[in-house]
Symmetry: C2
Subunit: 412 residues, 2 copies
């Protein structure tokens, strides 16, 4: 599909007409509002709506700093908006003249969190990642625990920790295992985790099936689940990760809709044990998304090259499991896929795995690394490759700032 918006038909463009990801943007001095990325531009949906060129509800919904209100309108509204946007932005559109004044260069805007994150849940769904980490934390024999092939294992994270791409992350202090007992100090093993985040768009009440869960997912973002491995190793028994994961979780600013990714579905890998019926795939629920992580410092070093389809459990299966207890999910719930590690070394989705717990430091353009060093910038990217186009996610970027000298003295 071709668009009249400059850049949209370029090969390698993340935001062709086939994509139409949703975000929240502002220019200096303006209030954040909803927009859609197309080519080198963002289309100002709030402006279109205010001037009567777009109407999805009786009251305005795009003049808001989050997509939650629109998500709550439900799947029919989602499909309708996409249809209208395609009509508006396609080559030869009769609306081109009126729409032209609502496109703004991406280089001129600031991007914000696209959703008000109601709650954040993080999973642990790559067999390769779970095996790698399990081996390091608990040894080969207990690496993959008995429940792992039966349950999409997850834990609740902190919604207040979720920040948008470009936000700097401060190296945290925490309680660490020491030779002479525990110490309180800056984390020395701070890491990234390459994940995909699923955004719940429709509320659930009571348990839902995998098919219903799949339909409730509005879209996907890239997600970096920053992790302090030394804090985690000391704190995580018996109730799971807590402060190790609470410093920050960075997501990419554009929600790539489930509809845009519909043509890239892949089934989960063959089950190694029979899964219970409530977790069976009704149709392909994974997605073929190429994922990469780079270290940007003194040049660009490739860290991870993998694919979301490597996961053992899909977001839809995770969401279905999440509701089994009757747990209500709400629009704005974010589900982290878990680290997307593949079977090869280059497909490892964290430095913990790349350096094998620090035992095998690896080379980068900025020198050897076992974990992230102060000043390092970590960038996640991803796309689904179509025939002559790509459905891209843009960037999920963050730079690690040094720990404070004294965490109880507020930085100016």
């Amino acid at each position: 599909m071709r668009s009249w918006v400059p850049g949209a038909n370029e090969p390698g463009c993340d935001f062709p007409l086939n994509n139409l990801p949703y975000g929240v943007f502002s220019r200096a001095g303006e209030a954040p509002r909803c927009g859609v990325a197309i080519g080198d531009y963002v289309l100002d949906l709030a402006g279109l709506e205010a001037d009567g060129h777009l109407k999805v509800a009786d009251a305005p919904v795009f003049d808001a700093p989050y997509w939650n209100e629109f998500m709550e309108m439900g799947a029919e509204a989602w499909a309708l908006l996409r249809k209208e946007l395609v009509a508006l932005l396609q080559e030869g559109s009769e609306h081109r003249a009126s729409a032209t004044e609502y496109i703004i260069l991406l280089s001129e805007v600031v991007l914000h969190l696209p959703v008000l994150v109601s709650e954040f849940t993080d999973f642990y769904a790559s067999r390769h990642h779970a095996t790698n980490v399990g081996t390091m934390f608990r040894g080969t024999e207990n690496a993959l625990q008995p429940n792992w092939l039966h349950i999409p294992i997850g834990y609740n994270g902190r919604a207040s920790s979720v920040v948008v791409s470009g936000t700097n992350v401060r190296r945290p202090w925490g309680q660490l295992r020491g030779e002479d007992g525990p110490q309180f100090g800056p984390s020395a093993r701070f890491d990234y985790e390459l994940e995909l985040g699923a955004i719940v768009g429709s509320p659930t009440e009571g348990p839902v099936t995998v098919a219903e869960a799949d339909a409730a997912i509005f879209g996907y973002v890239l997600l970096n689940d920053w992790s302090a491995r030394d804090i985690q190793a000391w704190e995580y028994q018996p109730l799971g990760p807590f402060q190790a994961k609470a410093t920050a979780t960075t997501i990419s600013p554009w929600i790539v809709t489930a509809e845009a990714l519909a043509g890239f579905r892949k089934s989960v890998p063959e089950r190694e044990v029979t899964v219970l019926p409530y977790l069976e795939e009704p149709h392909a629920t994974l997605i073929d998304i190429e994922l990469e992580v780079d270290l940007e410092r003194d040049g660009v070093t490739a860290l991870t090259r993998t694919n979301y389809a490597e996961m053992y459990w899909s977001s839809a299966q995770q969401l279905a499991h999440h509701t089994t207890s009757g747990c209500a999910m709400t629009p704005g719930d974010v589900l982290g896929s878990g680290t997307v590690s593949g079977p090869t070394r280059e497909a490892r989705g964290s430095m913990l795995e790349l350096s094998w717990g620090g035992k095998e430091p690896f080379e980068t353009h900025a020198g050897p690394r076992s974990f992230i060093e102060d000043g390092d910038t970590i960038v996640l990217r991803g796309h689904a490759q179509g025939d002559g186009f790509r459905i891209g996610f843009g960037e999920c970027r963050g730079t690690l700032l040094p720990a404070l000298d004294d965490p109880y003295v507020r930085p100016k």
Copy 2:
């Protein structure tokens, strides 16, 4: 302190003038709004405010279904409101005539959740409880894990699971360990956990000290952390409890303010190991609150009799630890204390402990129990005992409904 409001000066009244707990109420057909409990009545703060008898801000804050907006005004505003309410409600008040039309019998109102729960964190801070549960789950040798005496261990829960006293709770389905592999079925070991919930009233940015954390706590509620022990036992390794705790968490409707409880402070028990400085108590941070749990069925059976001062870690210490990573806390954050078990059998705060994992069923007026049975009503109560008065919490009540025959068929 004596009040002119009927019931407030009765011995055994939960809501004397010394208390003044905050809640949200409505009468049939009315919108929920903020009020304060006094004697047998609730004082309608929204009504007082609307008619110009009470003014805490330029715009109305009590005509809201939650206390969050008022909490955000900060500790000075909290102290000022309490002062004004005492002046209004004390015996001999000059405002009695004007205030009289704003008191409504408690028996005529419905009580709602008093806060919009932004996030929910649950801790594990009774040495007795942790030792009991640890022994049952992992054996005597690994009962108390090496980090427990150093870290206020906690995990993130689900805010969407928090409901107000009086809400029925549906026995959940879940994935359970079975003889021939995991099964999906109704939980057979559904339990209560007696806890105190601390309501964060002031936001934090970056790590805060225990003293700062203590000052950020607006007040306390009773909290029943309903738990499916069979789901928990199968799912909790390695990332902690997830669906086992997501069915419901019931809180009492009245927030008893930290100020009302100021005279009942107690220090945490002597440390068994030196704690790190960031967790040291700057002043007494526990509270002498007598807590009890009853089973109401075919009469009343006492289940638990304990005291919040039994805890090893206080809410202030937990909150301080919660912020070490830089994790931002927001008004409406609820921190569960963890099950408040004491050293004696009657002080065990869950059926798991009372029946020792089901091995020692105990007698009730409704027959023997190991866990909660369908139709059982669990009621938590608590109060701090003053000289001739009590600071009471009211009730935290819930009845267990039977599991659905098929969780994927929505109940009418």
